[in-house]
């Protein structure tokens, strides 16, 4: 989707990353790589280990095994952490009595950056008019923008965003989408977790899909959607029983969804069409299910044959 400029980003490498919280296995031998110059969506249902993974990457949570590095280094070993990585983790982490500009000046100081950057990033996120307001009076959307401004204070090469569109209105979401694309276009590495799948589908180049702490799929959005789209055709026919018999004979996996609807797995329309014609099965409708990110997500995270459909790359 994006055509990155000469890369200024750094790759994020997650290798065999594992984390237990007591008896709960939050992240289970997770492996993936995020490339610079692309927006990578980190997708998974609630409790799938996304936030824990991001926190391990940022040194907030210590893994039990494995590595999470940025440009080959652990976050805490980066010589200029906030100049290398900007992170948006939770929009509630502000002191309510602190003014927006003061908050950003404080962040700039902590990272050793010029305090004048506070006004630059306030302008970038559209909060200049609210710079002197206390954060306690901010809406959730404004806090998200302020959190994003904090992440950008060091003009970082890598951005890690955990559910950044939470609380944003549709305008804000559209703005965030354009903003991420713009930053990726500059060659930065963008890793963004979200559960707003329709929104993510319009934003991301690559996707990493996790469930129960395990990697379910990784690759470009096109490769993942293509893999799953081919895998599920819905055929509506008055001859569903005969279709099932034909499919069984042909050794094709299928699911009977209703009296007249059959989901055929693992076949392209080009493969299924001739099979139906050969057997002279009357067809009312043939739809290519699973072509959107949401259905892929549901398919992968519900454990419906994802291992065979979209292998991690």
């Amino acid at each position: 989707m994006s055509t990155p400029s000469p890369s200024r980003g750094l790759p994020i490498e997650i290798s065999e990353l594992t984390k237990h919280f007591g008896s709960v296995l939050a992240v289970d031998h997770l492996d993936f790589v995020v490339e610079p110059g692309r927006v990578t969506g980190f997708l998974g249902p609630n409790g799938s280990g996304k936030t824990t993974t991001l926190r391990m990457l940022l040194g907030l949570v210590t893994p039990n095994a494995g590595r999470a590095t940025i440009g080959g280094r652990f976050y805490r070993d980066l010589p200029d952490p906030s100049g290398t990585v900007g992170a948006v983790l939770e929009a509630t982490s502000f002191h309510p009595a602190r003014r927006a500009r003061t908050h950003l000046r404080m962040v700039a100081r902590a990272g050793g950056h010029d305090e004048a950057r506070a006004d630059v990033v306030l302008d970038l996120v559209g909060l200049t008019a609210d710079a002197q307001r206390k954060v306690g009076g901010f809406s959730m959307g404004m806090r998200q923008r302020l959190e994003l401004a904090s992440a950008l204070i060091g003009d970082p090469d890598v951005l890690i965003l955990d559910e950044p569109s939470n609380g944003l209105d549709p305008q804000g979401i559209a703005w965030l989408r354009d903003f991420m694309r713009y930053l990726a276009g500059e060659g930065r590495t963008i890793l963004v977790s979200s559960h707003l799948l329709a929104e993510m589908a319009q934003t991301i180049d690559d996707a990493v899909i996790v469930s129960h702490g395990q990697l379910k799929a990784q690759g470009t959005l096109e490769s993942i959607t293509a893999g799953v789209a081919q895998a599920s055709m819905h055929a509506r026919t008055p001859e569903a029983d005969r279709l099932c018999a034909v499919l069984t004979e042909a050794g094709v996996r299928f699911r009977r969804l209703s009296v007249d609807l059959v989901a055929v797995d693992g076949m392209t329309p080009e493969q299924l069409g001739p099979l139906l014609a050969t057997n002279q099965i009357i067809l009312y409708e043939l739809t290519n299910e699973g072509a959107d990110l949401e259905s892929i997500f549901l398919s992968l995270t519900a454990g419906l044959g994802f291992g065979e459909l979209a292998q991690p790359t």
Partner: protein, 266 residues
């Protein structure tokens, strides 16, 4: 490290609790000054007199000590617990992933603000207490001659009380618990334990926080008004009191570092 300290200075300056502590230091210092003059005049008749004895002069100069004994720990507690209360600890540790640096910066910043608090109380005494004393007939130069005896103990005790609060705040993370623990421990639990130890075991429990700080602050506390009223307590030497008070700050700070600060931030 310098960047972290600068950020922490701005951070604490932008938290209202710190200014509340400073705001309370004024009336408390004034209250103790009033008590010193009333005491010098003999309390029952509420007739005020200028300070005449060495202890009275030192009590006047150290009138801020009483407020410091609980405002400085509260300031120390706030310095760390407000981070947990408002969840800013996450961004703090992201910005400065070496957490020991954050704690070191907080120690310096707490110490700095407690130093300012001690100096502020002196300013109040000099601006209001000395003219008041002069108006009652006292000689200002006789009081200021005691500055050298009072200021070091006052300042160092203030800093160590701040570290004491920071240590317990780091250990418990919860603001209310931290304040209750330090203030309640100093003003309620410690006197009870001291009385119990003396009554039952005939032992002077002089290494608890306020007794240790009183030893450091010297005659401020022994004089009766500035701090511990119990003149029968056998205090530690001033330097030992300072070390013990330092330990009351550093030990919970170290425990807090290993038990809470190093833990996962989820």
């Amino acid at each position: 490290m310098i960047d972290t300290v600068r950020s922490e200075l701005l951070k604490i300056r932008s938290v209202p609790g710190v200014w509340v502590c400073f705001g309370l230091a004024f009336p408390l210092t004034a209250l103790i000054m009033w008590a010193v003059f009333a005491s010098a005049g003999g309390f029952p008749g509420h007739t005020y007199s200028f300070v005449s004895t060495v202890n009275q002069k030192r009590d006047l100069l150290g009138a801020g000590y009483f407020g410091i004994t609980f405002l400085a720990p509260v300031l120390g507690v706030i310095c760390i617990t407000s981070e947990y209360r408002h969840k800013t600890i996450t961004s703090t540790f992201v910005l400065t992933p070496r957490r020991e640096r954050v704690l070191a910066a907080k120690m310096l910043v707490t110490g700095w603000w407690c130093l300012l608090m001690a100096l502020l109380s002196l300013v109040v005494v000099i601006a209001a207490g000395l003219p008041w004393n002069a108006a009652l007939g006292g000689v200002t130069s006789q009081v200021t001659a005691q500055l050298g005896a009072v200021v070091p103990g006052l300042v160092v005790a203030s800093i160590l009380f701040g570290l004491f609060g920071l240590g317990f705040g780091t250990l418990v993370k919860n603001q209310v618990t931290g304040i209750l623990l330090t203030i309640g421990g100093t003003f309620i639990l410690e006197p009870l334990l001291v009385a119990l130890a003396r009554g039952v075991f005939h032992y002077d429990l002089n290494w608890l926080p306020s007794a240790a700080a009183a030893a450091l602050a010297g005659s401020l506390a022994r004089g009766g008004l500035g701090g511990n009223h119990d003149v029968t307590t056998h205090y530690l030497p001033w330097w030992a009191g300072g070390l013990v008070m330092l330990a009351w700050g550093l030990i919970p700070l170290a425990l807090g570092y290993f038990t809470t600060v190093r833990r996962d931030v989820t």
